[in-house]
Amino acid sequence: MNEKPKPPIQIDKMDKEFLDTIIKAGAEKINVCIQCGTCTSSCPSGRRTALKTRQLMRKGLLGLKDEILNNKDLWLCTTCYTCLERCPRGVDPTDVILTMRRMAVQAGNMLDPHKRVAGLVIKFGHAVPIDEATRKLRTTMNLGENPPTVHAYPEALKEVQEIIKKKGFDKLVCYEWK
């Protein structure tokens, strides 16, 4: 009871340069946000989760770097774009969230399931690779056991992997080549 309540915003946590970095990275219009909350009230994810789109915009504007880069709520957005369509100021909140996500990934904050999905593309060239049951099903449908994608062209998979290496994507998502 004697503990002093934590102030909602700590001045020493505000980092003006971080705001500039977000803007340069793709959130060009974040600073015209008027905090009306249309985004939050339109959000199908926020209705049932901790995701508060308006608050993310505010945290970005205040340059609360740690709160953005370590924010798991960023990953609750389904990228449905409803907020982007309805924002009266043209902030493009979905694009801001995608920018924040990329910055979080750069800072090494990627969720494990997402590392796994990225790993599947690196390994197989498909985020959802084929499984035994589907191979069988394809055969009964006369579609060919493997689709005419990277699954049927090993040299094409190599290309995909080379591109990934060249872009450093394997390192970014901590992929271990075996």
């Binding site: 994810s45 990953w75 957005c77 389904t78 990225a118």
Partner: protein
């Protein structure tokens, strides 16, 4: 006219029935489809675009270049693939700096993005290239069904990247494509709401994704839908397999048949359910087949 069929991941690797359907439907309607040999994941917009923009762009460019070498416009049946390929195609057509960067990466594989083709969703091919009148004339079996159409998100949004879409709040083209087959597109609560799967939410927060799916299913059921029809393979998976996941978690069974639009179209064209892979869904579609008398 020939189109380059971009399969993506979900269709060939989970729902080959949708792949079979488009082949049969194209044959029946008289348009050609070419395979895209060696294509990969688009890669998925919600996740890959969220991880690294340059890798997303480069892998998508590789897929686009394969289509360019065939000289055919791309057709997709997944809103996610559509969004990635349409948006990267536009970026690379207009931003020469980005195009050069990508071409540098593709050069060792004798690939170069030239910007010679367009990316279309199957619904655009049907609505714009073929047209409602022509489709109407091809219907052999009008479908007496009450259908909850689920557009999904990325087929209409963001509208700043969708030159044919004026508003994402009440689009009509998909309803018209359903009604031209003799069915009724019913109105239901929050029709334009997301299925819940996108943006990496299905991968990281399955319960959250499924809770959105539950809401969609409830709304469609309350409105008396015989089935939900979607133009997107990922929504299809979420709405179909999601019902099994919801049942296993909560005990609630919706038994709501889910059809991809190409399968519904196939039925109206008089194709057999086996030719449309309709027996391979997680939730059986028997009630739909019974109602239309197949």
């Amino acid at each position: 006219m020939d189109y380059a069929l971009f399969l993506g991941c979900i269709i060939p690797n989970r729902y080959p029935g949708i792949e079979l359907s488009i082949k049969k439907v194209a044959e029946n309607m008289g348009f050609g489809l070419k395979d895209l040999p060696g294509a990969s994941c688009c890669p998925a917009p919600g996740v890959f675009k969220s991880f690294d923009h340059a890798t997303w762009l480069a892998l998508a460019a590789r897929n686009l270049v394969i289509a360019e070498s065939l000289g055919a416009d791309v057709v997709t049946m997944c809103n996610g693939c559509y969004s990635t390929l349409k948006e990267t195609n536009k970026i690379l057509k207009n931003d020469f700096g980005k195009r050069n960067e990508v071409n540098e990466v593709l050069k060792p594989f004798n690939k170069e993005f030239k910007g010679t083709i367009n990316v279309k969703h199957l619904l655009e091919v049907l609505y714009n290239d073929i047209g409602l009148e022509k489709i109407k004339g091809m219907v052999k079996k009008p479908l007496n069904l009450k259908i909850a159409v689920h557009y999904g998100c990325h087929i209409v949004k963001p509208t700043k990247e969708r030159e044919n879409i004026k508003s994402a709040e009440r689009p009509k083209f998909f309803d018209e494509l359903v009604e031209v087959l003799g069915a009724k597109s019913i109105s239901y609560k929050d029709k334009m709401m997301c299925c819940g799967a996108g943006g990496g939410v299905r991968a990281a927060y399955l319960d959250t994704a499924l809770d959105m799916t539950r809401e969609k299913l409830e709304n469609a059921q309350e409105a008396g839908a015989d089935c939900i029809v979607t133009p997107c393979a990922f929504c299809h998976l979420q709405l179909d397999r999601g019902q099994i996941e919801i049942r296993d978690r909560t005990g609630t069974s919706f038994n709501m048949p889910i059809l991809h639009y190409v399968q519904l179209l196939g039925l109206a064209l008089g194709l057999k359910p086996e030719e449309l892979g309709l027996f391979n869904n997680a939730v059986p579609v028997d009630s739909v087949l019974k109602k239309i008398g197949t």
